[in-house]
């Protein structure tokens, strides 16, 4: 039999429908790949093989009875930020210890309702705070891509580094991920995968470990744009358990992919031509413009004047919300407890031992900007700047339908290369963070290889709840650029 792990999500779906193989065979092929490769890639922090095979067996029965759901029998990886009932969920933080949720996140429940199969829990930066997956308490996930002629281990990006690396290495057909400032799109770009960050409110946040609640969104990382369309359709939808999830129809994204981009108005924002953008990224961007133009889109120069301020404003708002959300880790109700002299001391000892350096840094920044005397100067100011960023986009939507930018300023870097300087790491999100600040949907599509032989991505930004147009434009880029597969499975 051919290697089933090389299939895309939609190819595997079609193969199951044609009875070319069973859900159990498909699951087993992936479990074997995980068994063979995970020690080198460190993408799964908890493989769940018994669970996988039990779900696959049920899927085979449903397929036999003609009751297959949209994702019936398709094995997925789940970022360890999603609560999974009875299965350890840690956000890759020591502080959650051996936490076993007694409930299921709404997004993963949607996937199981559609017949999907869980392979295990995927590595990420601790509490999704990072751009390289190096802040995980389980150690860094490793990018399956290497620089030409080098054995250096590269980061897969973050925070959804395990998700992106697992998809690129064929250790799952697709994965769930979350994006607060770029955590779906940046790792997708660095691994040659497709990452979709939906409009804020499109997917339920219920049961996802909270980082910054006004910015967090769940989305898929997949091998192709079509797979992203298929996954998003199932993940999205209104949920009464999340008061910020929106009542809006979820279109059949996959059905709309073939419509092309003829007449689509594409905006190219001049503020993204920043210093520090590499020559090859600038060239890639021009090529993306040319591809969309050749496919029938019209290109428009636009201005998003407050772009430069999105990242500093983000680094006030996100830590502020994080310091509030992470107050719940008190060593009393769940997770780690380090006993102290009294209750306050127990809190302090527990949180000192349980949080890693980057999480502590952000909780402290958040506490500072929210503290008496500083609130107006920092937090309120950042919220005002946030409105200006959103207004920039509102104005742009009067003349264009989507915006095209690079996803990252540069390709994947080596493990350890940027970990000494927090600010340097924060700049990874410079092109992605505006999308979260404005609550918009964004997609990263692989578009080329760097001079180092590693992937680069282009980002498309869309109007609120117009993921359909975004995916259609993403398909046009994929059609022109082709897919980028890891040349060698060195990890086996």
């Amino acid at each position: 039999m051919n290697d089933l792990t090389k299939l895309t999500l939609s190819e595997a779906r079609d193969g199951l429908a044609e009875k070319d193989f069973s859900a159990t065979e498909l699951a087993q092929a992936h479990l074997d790949a995980i068994e063979a490769g995970n020690s080198n890639l460190n993408v799964y922090v908890l493989p769940t093989p018994d669970h996988t095979l039990a779900q696959a067996k049920v899927a085979d029965q449903r397929i036999a009875k003609g009751e297959a759901g949209r994702l019936e029998g398709l094995p997925l990886g789940i970022k360890d930020l999603f609560c999974t009932r009875g299965v350890r969920t840690t956000a890759c933080s020591k502080i959650l210890d051996d936490f076993k949720p007694t409930y299921e996140s709404s997004v993963t429940q949607n996937l199981w309702n559609a017949g999907a199969v869980m392979l295990g829990k995927l590595n990420n930066d601790e509490f999704a705070m990072g751009s390289s997956n190096e802040s995980s308490t389980f150690g860094p996930a490793v990018n399956p891509w290497r620089r030409t002629g080098s054995d250096d281990k590269l980061v897969p990006g973050g925070s959804s580094g395990g998700s992106a690396a697992a998809v690129a290495a064929d250790l799952c057909l697709a994965a769930t991920a979350t994006d607060t400032g770029g955590s779906i799109r940046q790792p997708a770009a660095l691994t040659g995968t497709v990452g979709v960050k939906p409009t804020y409110g499109r997917c339920s946040r219920f049961g996802i470990v909270a980082f910054a609640s006004s910015l967090d969104q769940a989305g898929p990382i997949t091998k192709t744009v079509r797979d992203g369309a298929l996954m998003l359709k199932v993940m999205a939808g209104h949920d009464p358990k999340d008061s910020t999830s929106v009542h809006a129809d979820v279109p059949d994204y996959e059905a709309g992919l073939g419509a092309g981009v003829k007449g689509l108005r594409v905006g190219v924002p001049k503020e993204y031509r920043i210093e520090g953008i590499s020559e090859e990224v600038a060239k890639l961007w021009e090529r993306g413009v040319a591809w969309l133009k050749d496919a029938g889109a019209s290109i428009h120069d636009i201005s998003l004047p407050h772009t430069k301020y999105a990242l500093p404003a983000y680094y006030i708002i996100a830590p502020a919300e994080a310091s509030s959300n992470l107050a719940r880790y008190d060593g009393v109700r769940y997770g780690l407890r380090v006993p102290g002299k009294n209750l306050i001391d127990t809190y302090e000892e527990t949180r000192s031992a349980g949080f890693g350096d980057e999480v502590k840094r952000r909780v402290l920044i958040g506490t500072y900007v929210l503290s008496a005397g500083y609130y107006d100067a920092y937090y309120l100011k950042a919220q005002k700047v946030r409105r200006l960023i959103k207004c920039d986009f509102d104005a742009a939507w009067e003349t264009v339908d989507v915006v095209l930018t690079p996803t990252t300023p540069a390709p994947a870097f080596a493990i350890g290369e940027k970990s000494g300087d927090p600010l340097q790491m924060y700049l990874e999100d410079i092109f992605t963070v505006t999308v979260n600040m404005a609550g918009l949907p964004g997609i990263s599509v692989p578009a080329g290889l760097s001079s180092e032989g590693t992937p680069l991505g282009l980002q498309l930004i869309g109007k609120p709840f117009d993921e359909a147009t975004l995916l259609r434009a993403g398909q046009a880029i994929e059609d022109a650029a082709g897919r980028f597969l890891v040349p060698k499975r060195w990890w086996v």
Partner: protein, 95 residues
């Protein structure tokens, strides 16, 4: 904005995180660098701008004020580091 060591310790206590002397010294320079960097926001005139608290213009939904969950104290304490009779156990607070 330079954050001195006294401030770092005050903030760490507010955040209920114990820090060592070594950590305090490192955080002093790291937090100062981050706060210096975010100060570029002062360049933006926001005198007439309303702060943005949510991205989608919806008012929070309301539901019927009825009990629709509960009676599962055992589940709720199942992940607690210490519990007794379905209650969380904490160090003694009052003598």
């Amino acid at each position: 904005m330079h954050v001195d060591e006294v401030t770092v310790r005050r903030i760490a206590h507010l955040a209920r995180i114990k820090i060592t002397d070594e950590e305090a010294a490192g955080l002093e320079s790291e937090l100062s660098a981050i706060l210096d960097w975010v100060e570029q926001l002062d360049e933006v005139d926001t005198a007439t701008v309303e702060p943005m608290t949510r991205v989608v213009a919806i008012s929070l939904k309301q539901r019927e004020d009825v009990v629709n969950d509960g009676e599962k104290a055992d589940e709720i304490v199942s992940n607690a580091p210490m519990s007794e009779n379905d209650l969380f156990v904490v160090p003694k607070i009052v003598e």
